[in-house]
């Protein structure tokens, strides 16, 4: 029996009385080619149970062997989170029963994690930095997947039977656990979101996982409790499991703050329980109640020898670490002369790497940003793709900007070139060639068009002669129309003024 209530108090009222404390547990599926303890493929989307062997099926007699790339990835993550790396650590068995866990224990780590005592700086929307302390990062294996058939909700309740797919069983996971996050106050949900976002960036930058939350490659549990202001002791926490988008992380934390406050205000007690987050309503509901702390009967995994990464190896890995994403964003903001807010939009659009690559290919930063955050972002949005999945390379974008700089294309034509590249018509130069998109800056051809425009609009010409230089825009428009947009607008304006004997300014 749960004492959950859907009664909420307003967020502001909740924060007026209580101080939230959060703990975030993030599971990252590593992008290794093979599983953590056997040689089976980790490829997504295969026939159910086609990527299995005696080891990951938990057959009698089968034994695990540690994936060295998995260990290296764990060390990379640990170092990037400013953690200490254990000189010696072991795997442990976490014993519990679940049908999608073949051995009925999970090979994990317990009191001897590979990485511990670190931190991650995250940036909030207003540019303020918040330091999240990391308790530990440890290695473990994923479970299989249960598909509950016959029920309305897809949950086990009401299902007639369940199907088990063990393809995911044994895929390497790194679990990253924060220390209690205190002092975030009303910004707790924002901190939670920013932390998960920053962690995702970090994991991607390290190249250890694509960390796609929508594909379950990164999953977050939000543990949250409230305590009255001024009290040191933590309240009882709820554990909201598998919150799988950045927005949901923020909403789940927010909802739980409001729900806890309502329970506490009405004199009730929060029970330690697992909760499920619902994307549609933004609310959580009770899962199973933990009547007492679950007893996993951890003990050191006797089938695996201890992991003792040499200091030389750890230093080698440290030396190869990429720049921290936040530090990189700060550096780039400075180099590009933009605000933290602008950078946040670029980050949210997934445009940092494409923009950097475009600049590396010769474009100036303003143009590179303009195309990726404008035309290309729109196109990506419309086609439901990520920017790096668009059929255009940063080099091609840089080529377009080069053509614009050289005056061979104007913005309008450049947009058409990009459209052509996206449509698969070839490289920018090929599209220019095929579509005949060249700025006409040949004075001979333009002069004829300008004279025609002046002749056709005597009134406007008079105004310009009379000193109203701004009126030249209308004539420029007429020329552009006549040349189907291919004229160099700046040159056209110069020629108009020249023809009318007026000098600008």
């Amino acid at each position: 029996m749960t004492t959950t209530t859907d009664e909420l108090v307003s967020y502001e009222d909740a924060l007026a009385t209580y101080d939230p404390v959060m703990g975030l547990e993030v599971h990252v599926e590593l992008g290794t080619k093979t599983k953590m303890f056997c040689g089976c493929s980790t490829e997504l989307g295969a026939e159910p149970n086609s990527q299995t062997c005696p080891t990951c099926l938990g057959m009698p007699g089968a034994l695990p062997v540690v994936n060295a790339i998995g260990v290296e990835s764990a060390i990379r993550i640990g170092l990037a989170l400013n953690c200490e790396i254990a000189e010696w650590c072991r795997f442990a068995r976490k014993n519990y029963f679940y049908p999608d866990m073949p051995k009925n224990f999970q090979t994990s780590q317990y009191d001897e994690p590979i990485a511990f005592n670190g931190y991650l700086d995250v940036q909030l929307e207003d540019g303020e930095t918040f330091r999240v302390q990391i308790e530990r990062a440890h290695m473990e294996e994923d479970t299989g997947k249960s598909l509950h058939v016959g029920g309305a909700t897809g949950r086990i309740h009401g299902a007639s039977h369940s199907l088990l797919d063990y393809n995911r069983a044994g895929i390497p996971l790194i679990e990253i656990v924060t220390k209690p996050i205190e002092g975030a106050g009303e910004r707790a949900p924002e901190v939670a979101k920013a932390y998960v976002a920053e962690l995702r960036e970090l994991i991607r930058a390290l190249g250890v996982s694509e960390a796609r939350m929508e594909q379950g490659q990164m999953r977050c549990d939000v543990n949250l409790s409230l305590r009255p202001h001024g009290r040191e002791k933590f309240g009882t926490r709820s554990e909201t499991k598998n919150v799988n988008s950045l927005r949901s992380v923020e909403r789940a934390a927010r909802f739980e703050i409001q729900r806890h406050a309502a329970v506490l205000n009405s004199g009730g007690t929060i029970i330690q329980e697992t909760r499920h987050f619902h994307e549609d309503t933004g609310s959580t509901t009770s899962g199973r109640v933990k009547e007492e702390a679950e007893d996993y009967r951890y003990f050191p995994e006797p089938d695996l020898v201890p992991v003792a990464p040499s200091r030389a190896w750890v230093e080698e890995i440290r030396a190869e670490l990429p720049e921290q994403p936040l530090a990189r964003r700060n550096r780039l903001s400075e180099e590009w002369g933009i605000t933290a807010f602008d950078m946040q939009s670029i980050l949210n659009a997934g445009a940092i790497d494409p923009i950097v690559a475009t600049i590396d290919a010769g474009a100036d930063s303003a143009s590179a940003r303009k195309w990726w955050m404008g035309e290309l972002a729109r196109s990506a949005n419309e086609s439901g793709k990520a920017l790096d999945e668009l059929p255009i390379t940063p080099e091609q974008v840089a080529r377009v900007t080069a053509l614009v700089t050289a005056g061979e294309l104007n913005d309008k034509l450049a947009r058409q070139v990009i459209e052509g590249v996206l449509a698969g018509e070839g490289t920018p130069d090929e599209v220019v060639e095929k579509r005949g998109l060249k700025v006409v800056s040949d004075d001979g051809a333009l002069t004829t068009a300008v004279q025609e425009a002046i002749a056709g609009n005597p009134g406007i010409a008079d105004k310009i002669r009379g000193g109203k230089v701004a009126a030249a825009g209308a004539l420029v428009g007429a020329v552009m129309k006549a040349t189907r947009g291919q004229a160099d607008a700046a040159r056209v304006k110069e020629l108009i003024l020249e023809q009318l004997g007026v000098s600008e300014g």
């Binding site: 009698p60 034994l63 014993n95 051995k103 009925n104 702390a293 003990f299 089938d303």
Partner: protein, 500 residues
């Protein structure tokens, strides 16, 4: 030489030599043993499964190889009885339990693979205490095995099927596994030879786990040399077992061919005698020590106080690991499933299946281990037991500073009658008093016959213990002792066993 009764009495080394030289064909040898199984196994019940067709096919392949002039391995064509704890692709593997009844493994254990690669002919799978938990083979879900010396007595356990197969000449070679004495104690009570190699010497891949940090596969035979030849086939690094030792196998065959204790220091541990030891066992053991002295060894008395705690530590560590290892038997993916009639949930089906599929000793140990690992008790039980384990390892290390090997009786008594200790787990556990310290420390040990106890005429085993990775010393000492005894008796001890 086509007489079945003489073929089955050959040693493995002799059999292999006869096949290699063409005196015997592998098919003849295999048929002789299959006929012997047919003749006596209804009484002995050493085998749970006889793979007649598979064995003959293997034998034919050996003969074909020889006919093509190919080089044969040192045990090519020699039949072997495989403990039913090793997976065999396409052949049932039950681990002596109902819970795996009907399971046909999709893969071969590394030991199985190595045997096949060496052309050792696998006759079938032998009986054992369920999940290797026991010292009498009475805990098998498929009925007990008789001791060929007296069919009303136990053949030891858990590997009683393997030891009985050897002692009743149904196979010259067998494979066992030793978690607390399951190779050595059956060898002792059947008058055969059994070796527990150093932990990690023989791959555990495909060996159904009882207690992962203690389990170790090893060779069983009727002579020290045969055991050494088999040791060499099954030992060696296996990348599929991360606890497997990545080092060359010690020169065990060479040691077995050059038995000697001249100038060696042999330790006798104070703690391995006293209350609970049968008089005739102590008498034969003392005689063996006297033989060692005569052969030129120096006897050194040792004090290993931690050994008194070994049994207690073992009965915390082994059940703890087993409680986790056996969790996978849930009726969902393989083996027995009971109660799946549409009225029970998955968890209920698991519970009903386990109730029906596990025997009382297995349940007892799962419960003991679950309790010992539970939070709040872990430090007091599992944690303390691990500390005792460290103390035992240190006592061994200290001892091996002053001696080359240690000797003791293998087990405190000779074979007891079937049923005598079945309802008294503590009495049963005492059978492993002398063998358990070696498992806890991970070093190597052998049991070989040292005579018959005067009071009951049943075999007594001498245990030789060597440091980790020095398994060759067991064979050097064992071969010397064996030669001295055979000379003294005028024949191998097994010749005194009654004909069945």
């Amino acid at each position: 030489m086509t007489d079945h009764s003489s073929i089955i009495r050959l040693t493995a080394a002799e059999t292999a030599a006869n096949i290699a030289s063409g005196v015997l064909t592998a098919v003849e040898v295999t048929e002789a043993h299959l006929a012997r199984i047919e003749e006596v196994d209804a009484k002995v019940h050493a085998f749970l499964h006889v793979d007649r067709e598979g064995a003959l096919a293997q034998a034919r392949a050996v003969d074909a190889k020889r006919a093509r002039g190919e080089q044969l391995g040192p045990l090519a064509g020699v039949p072997l009885a495989l403990k039913d704890i090793f997976t065999t692709e396409g052949i049932p593997t039950t681990v002596g339990s109902k819970i795996l009844e009907g399971w046909i493994p999709p893969y071969d254990a590394t030991v199985t693979k190595r045997l096949k690669a060496a052309d050792v002919v696998i006759l079938g799978k032998t009986n054992m205490d369920e999940f290797a938990m026991g010292s009498s083979t009475e805990n098998s879900a498929y009925g007990p095995t008789g001791n060929p010396w007296d069919l009303t007595r136990i053949p030891g356990g858990s590997g009683g099927g393997s030891s009985a197969a050897l002692a009743s000449f149904q196979a010259p070679l067998a494979i066992g596994t030793d978690t607390g004495g399951s190779i050595r104690q059956p060898a002792a009570v059947t008058g055969t030879v059994g070796v527990k190699p150093t932990y990690g010497a023989v791959s555990r891949y495909g060996m159904v786990a009882f207690s992962s940090s203690l389990d170790q596969g090893g060779p069983c035979a009727r002579t020290v040399l045969d055991a050494a030849l088999l040791h060499e086939v099954i030992a060696g690094h296996d990348p599929l077992d991360s606890t497997s030792i990545d080092a060359p196998v010690p020169p065990v065959v060479e040691a077995a061919r050059n038995g000697s204790v001249q100038g060696m220091r042999v330790g006798v541990v104070k703690q391995f005698r006293g209350e609970g030891y049968q008089a005739g066992v102590i008498q034969r053991f003392d005689e063996a020590v006297a033989v060692l002295k005569e052969l030129g060894a120096e006897i050194v008395e040792l004090d290993c106080p931690s050994f008194d705690l070994a049994l207690s530590a073992y009965y915390l560590i082994a059940p703890s690991e087993c409680s986790s290892n056996l969790a996978r038997f849930d009726g969902l993916r393989y083996g027995l499933r009971v109660g799946d009639d549409g009225t029970h949930s998955a968890e209920e089906v698991t519970s009903i299946t386990r109730e029906a599929g596990f025997g009382p000793e297995v349940k007892r140990r799962i419960m003991l281990g679950t309790y010992a690992l539970s939070s709040g008790y872990y430090d007091a039980y599992y944690g303390s037991a691990q500390k005792v384990r460290t103390l035992i390892t240190r006592d061994f290390e200290k001892s091996f500073e002053s001696v080359d090997v240690i000797v003791s009786p293998t087990t405190p008594t000779t074979a007891f009658p079937i049923g005598e200790r079945a309802d008294d787990p503590m009495a049963m556990y005492l059978a492993d008093l002398c063998t358990i310290p070696t498992n806890l420390a991970g070093n190597s040990a052998m049991s070989l016959p040292c005579g018959l106890a005067p009071e009951d005429g049943l075999p007594v085993g001498l245990q030789i213990i060597a440091p980790a990775l020095k398994d060759d010393r067991l064979y050097k000492v064992g071969a010397a002792v064996e030669a001295a005894f055979v000379e003294k008796w005028g024949h191998p001890l097994l010749e005194e066993a009654p004909s069945l």
